[in-house]
């Protein structure tokens, strides 16, 4: 989610709009009478349906579901899952449309408001948001979208930030801005300009947000340019000391022993899975559960046996770390 403070219903008070992991945009309206925000409600389309991409949490069935009900004309380029949403007057008709970020496949979508802010009527289908004539697509998938007048031309530009490979190796996330190049009328976004390069996750200490970047643009130091405040996960592997030949040998022994125990555990899980093969759903679940529980003591014993080995290994070869923080990136355009 990325909370956006905006007067969504044009009542003169600031509301909070955000997309969350359930796959839909929500808004917390300001209660002008009592002076505070109300609990959030889901923003619906003109037919009273939830605004989604494809994946969404079904509250009635308590499970994840998929739909193509909202796909753009001609279909969606890939299965999407909305986790970020902002109010953005994309067509410059005076009301808030919604720009939606796709956490699963990296596209950005538009949901037009065909009504007004006081009486919104959101379209029933999504549209792909284009930049420089092509659909916006972050190969690391979208962490969030942000509306900000980056170049001071009184028109909102679009910031898109990336998730990156959330775990393990692979390229991390970055932040780009698409400037609105139109001078009047609907938004016409330009090519991406990099604000924060994608991370290569090569650090030995937490020096930057590497994955799941969530930026906010604000002039923190009062020098007239927009700085970035960015939440996200730093991923780093502490530099280890130089190991002796005997220690290197021990590292190999420990890794082999841990791998063997984990392989044995995986084999037990596979045995449990095979116990359900060929059975109907309910009977299969019952058979799997019984087989799994019967093997649980052995599996737990393998985990217990691996634990001290992992601890010894971590003393020789530091483990990779992954912790979330919030950083300030000071814009150097104006200096102080």
């Amino acid at each position: 989610m990325s909370p956006q403070f905006v007067d969504f219903d044009a009542d003169g008070h600031t509301d909070i709009v955000c997309g969350i992991f359930d796959g839909s945009p929500h808004v917390s309206y300001w209660d002008a009478e009592k002076g505070g925000w109300k609990q959030p409600v889901t923003i619906l389309d003109r037919e009273g349906q939830r605004i989604v991409l494809n994946a969404f949490w079904d509250f009635d069935a308590s499970r994840w579901e998929k739909t193509d009900r909202c796909d753009p004309d001609g279909g969606a380029p890939a299965e999407g899952h909305l986790t970020s949403a902002i109010a953005f007057d994309y067509d410059h008709d005076g009301d808030w449309d919604l720009v939606l970020g796709d956490h699963r496949s990296g596209y950005v979508y538009l949901r037009r408001n065909e009504g007004s802010n006081a009486a919104p009527a959101f379209a029933t289908r999504n549209e792909l948001v284009l930049a420089d004539g092509q659909p916006i697509h972050d190969p690391g998938t979208v962490a969030t979208v942000r509306a900000v007048d980056w170049n001071g031309d009184h028109r909102l530009d679009l910031i898109v930030s990336g998730m990156g490979e959330a775990y393990g190796e692979g390229t991390g996330g970055g932040v780009v801005v698409h400037l609105d190049t139109a001078r009047a009328g609907p938004v016409k976004l330009g090519a991406a300009q990099t604000l924060i390069a994608r991370s290569d996750k090569s650090a030995h200490e937490p020096v930057r947000p590497d994955v799941g970047l969530h930026p906010e643009a604000v002039d923190v130091d009062g020098d007239g340019d927009l700085d970035l405040i960015v939440g996200g996960y730093a991923m780093w592997t502490p530099a280890g000391r130089e190991l002796s030949p005997s220690e290197l040998l021990r590292v190999d022994e420990l890794r082999a022993s841990i791998d063997a125990k984990m392989a044995a555990r995986a084999a037990l899980i596979e045995e449990a899975r095979k116990a359900s093969e060929g059975l109907e759903e309910e009977a299969g679940t019952k058979a799997y559960t019984e087989a799994y529980e019967a093997r649980r003591p052995k599996m737990d014993a393998l985990l217990d046996a691996a634990k001290p080995l992992r601890q010894e290994l971590a003393e020789l070869v530091p483990n990779a770390q992954r912790v979330s923080f919030t950083w300030l990136y000071e814009n150097l355009a104006n200096g102080r």
């Binding site: 403070f5 955000c18 505070g36």
Partner: protein
């Protein structure tokens, strides 16, 4: 780090597309530094912390609101010296925690 009320005003206005002309924004930034709220790092340990700037207490200085994947919001008020106070949970009009995480 210092923050003027003018800067806060620019931030609000920018969010509402009413910004007075800022100078053209560059794309070069200083190396990132961790932001603190009270004696802790802002948003540390939260599930995908997502910050937003807004003047929660209407004192003319922007404060920092941090959302997370679970749909919870905290805020850190900005002090007069530009530092941020410890995070607090953002509550609704009835005093209950504002909770977007309803799945």
């Amino acid at each position: 780090m210092t923050t003027s009320s003018l800067a806060a005003g620019l931030a609000w206005a920018a969010a509402l597309s009413l910004a007075p002309a800022l100078t053209a924004q560059g794309t070069k930034f200083a190396a990132p530094v961790l932001l603190k709220a009270g004696d802790k790092v802002l948003g540390k340990g939260r599930l995908y912390p997502s910050p937003a700037a807004w003047d929660i207490d209407r004192d003319g200085r922007f404060d920092l609101v941090v959302g997370d994947l679970r749909g919870h919001l905290t805020y850190a008020l900005q002090n007069a010296d530009g530092t941020f106070a410890a995070e607090q949970k953002l509550k609704d009009v009835a005093g209950k925690v504002l909770d977007f995480g309803n799945w």
